[in-house]
Amino acid sequence: MKITVAGKIKEYDDGITVAKLVELENVETPEYVTVTINDEFVESHDFENTTVKDGDTVEFLYFMGGGQA
């Protein structure tokens, strides 16, 4: 199936979970990433039981501190 991950079209096996996608996409600090699918939040405790479907748009949003000192 084809899904859009962080703006890029990617090919993944059907039925992939958010947890697996986080792993395969080498998400940095996966415990603290915010995930959205089709502009809706996926709670982190649902990563294991949420599957990504063909045509879905997945985004990873990262904590970014930095800037002052």
């Binding site: 962080a6 703006g7 600090t29 415990e31 603290y32 915010t34 959205t36 502009d39 809706e40 939040f41 985004e59 949003l61 990262y62 904590f63 970014m64 501190g65 930095g66 800037g67 002052q68 000192a69």
Partner: protein
């Protein structure tokens, strides 16, 4: 207030823009913007807002200028080392534009002072380097119904979003709670390319100016990210349902400001 001939010349490139005009420039001269953090993000933002003729600019920062700041904090000079950042920033801004009134607050933001700091300002820029301050500024702006620009930078990456009360998600809608201390790398630990502050801090100034003059679309409901190594921008649409947010939602569970444990970039060597 009428512009002097000198002001008409100084702001001529603004006034000629149909989105700004004399009317917009007048709004800028009457506007009050608070910049929290006079560092990598706040430095370029403060320079552009002063140059733009924003009438009153407040700057909050508890630190003094350090040699390691000068690789990116372009508002400070070598001669400013040891000086409070707010003082150094004020001097540079006033040298650029004597029209601007600069208010300095040589302090950290805390749950005890943040509401008082933001109350007289029209727009807030979060240029802080740590998550406790970012959540505190978000929550205070939500509670006081103040628009603000969030930004963060690390390594070769940066991000920003704009919160306007009632017009989209707040920072806590997206990020829920601060990560535990040291769980997410800081600039001090991971480094940051100097020009990133210029890129993202300038965009924060851009959002403030657009908000004041009412031009175009703000980054409300979006997180804009930039990867300098790939030279890629990505504008992520954020979920529009804010009803469940702990601070800006329909039934907020956070009704008082919280001082989380500090884990900032600027822990001294």
């Amino acid at each position: 207030m009428a512009f002097t001939n000198e002001q008409l010349e100084r702001y001529s490139r603004h006034i000629i823009l149909k989105e700004v005009g004399a009317k917009g420039q007048k709004k800028l001269s009457q506007a009050k913007v608070l910049i929290i953090g006079a560092g990598g993000l706040g430095a370029p933002a403060a320079l552009y807002l002063a140059a733009a003729g924003v009438g009153t600019i407040g700057i909050v920062d508890a630190d003094e200028v350090d040699l390691s700041n000068l690789q990116r904090q372009v508002i400070h000079s070598t001669a400013d080392i040891g000086k409070p950042k707010v003082q150094s920033a004020k001097e540079t801004m006033e040298a650029i534009n004597p029209d601007v009134t600069v208010n300095t607050y040589h302090t950290f933001v805390t749950s005890g002072n943040v509401l008082d700091l933001i109350k007289d300002y029209d727009f807030i820029l979060d240029g802080t380097d740590n998550f406790p301050a970012k959540f505190l500024i978000n929550d205070a702006c939500v509670m006081a119904k103040k628009p603000f620009s969030h930004a963060g930078i690390i390594r070769f990456k940066g991000q920003l979003m704009t919160y306007v009360p009632g017009q989209g998600p707040c920072y806590r809608c997206v990020f829920k709670n601060p990560p535990p201390k040291d769980a997410v790398p800081t600039c001090k630990q991971a480094g940051v390319i100097g020009a990133m502050g210029g890129v993202i801090g300038s965009l924060q100034a851009m959002e403030a100016v657009k908000y004041i003059v009412g031009a175009g679309d703000l980054l409300t409901g979006y997180l804009l990210t930039f990867d300098a190594l790939k030279m890629e921008w990505h504008k992520v649409k954020l979920p529009s349902d804010t009803s469940k947010c702990a601070v800006c939602g329909d039934h907020p569970t956070i009704t008082e400001l919280v001082d989380y444990e500090q884990a900032e970039c600027d822990m001294k060597k």
